[in-house]
């Protein structure tokens, strides 16, 4: 069974600074997807970024980028130029092809003015 671990229950960052959220996972599969989702107080899960395991290049989406280390089973999220609207819970998630997601416990990020 797959597991996802996020070792930072809470983090804070000053507005405009950079912050990195950690995620590790365990799987015996070779092909899979990894995700970072943002969940603001409205509860809507919003996809931040997606990484396909067979791609060596790290995914980037504007201010968001990942550091994917397949051998180490590590998938961290870097948020550059943090904005107040980035305040939310962030969940790391794993999925095999067409399968349900396995989520980590989440990291509560607070961006401070």
């Amino acid at each position: 069974a797959q597991t996802v671990t996020q070792s930072q229950p809470e983090m804070s960052v000053q507005e405009a600074e950079t912050v990195t959220l950690s995620c590790t996972y365990d799987t015996s599969e070779n092909n899979y997807y990894l995700f970072w989702y943002k969940q603001p107080p409205s509860r809507q899960m919003i996809l931040v970024i997606r990484q396909e395991a067979y791609k060596q290049q790290n995914a980037t989406e504007n201010r968001f980028s990942v550091n994917f280390q397949k051998a180490a089973k590590s998938f961290s999220l870097k948020i550059s130029d943090s904005q107040l609207g980035d305040t939310a819970m962030y969940f790391c998630a794993f999925s095999g092809y067409g399968q349900n997601f396995v989520f980590g416990p989440g990291t509560r990020l607070s961006v401070l003015p």
Partner: protein, 114 residues
């Protein structure tokens, strides 16, 4: 088009009551997933449909939980004889065959059992 919708957004039930939670997936999405998210935790998988077929129900915590999707579109998650530990947010997500890796989530139903 519209995203995934869920109703009701909030539900308060007395212990022992039955509840029904509804999910309307994005039109054309054949795959539908239900997740349970306890307070302060990540979502946990409950069950999965492909069209009307329930292909995986390994995450349902007890036989009090039942899900259906009779026409392959709208799905209902039913919880019988609710218990306090059933209090959680119930999330629904859908995806298409072409983008099976990407699930679109609804806003969830917050169930509180008193």
């Amino acid at each position: 088009g519209a995203g995934v919708s869920q109703s009701p957004r909030y539900k308060v039930a007395k212990r022992g009551q039955d509840v029904a939670l509804r999910c309307d997936p994005i039109s054309g999405h054949v795959s539908l997933f239900w997740y349970q998210q306890a307070l302060g935790q990540g979502p946990e998988f409950l069950t999965y449909f492909q069209n009307e077929a329930q292909l995986d129900k390994s995450g349902l915590p007890s036989d009090r939980f039942f899900a259906e999707r009779p026409e392959g579109s709208v799905s209902t998650l039913k919880i019988q004889r609710t218990q306090q530990e059933d209090s959680a947010v119930y999330l629904c997500a859908s995806s298409t065959p072409r983008t099976v890796y990407e699930q679109y989530f609804g806003p969830g139903t917050r169930l509180t059992v008193t």
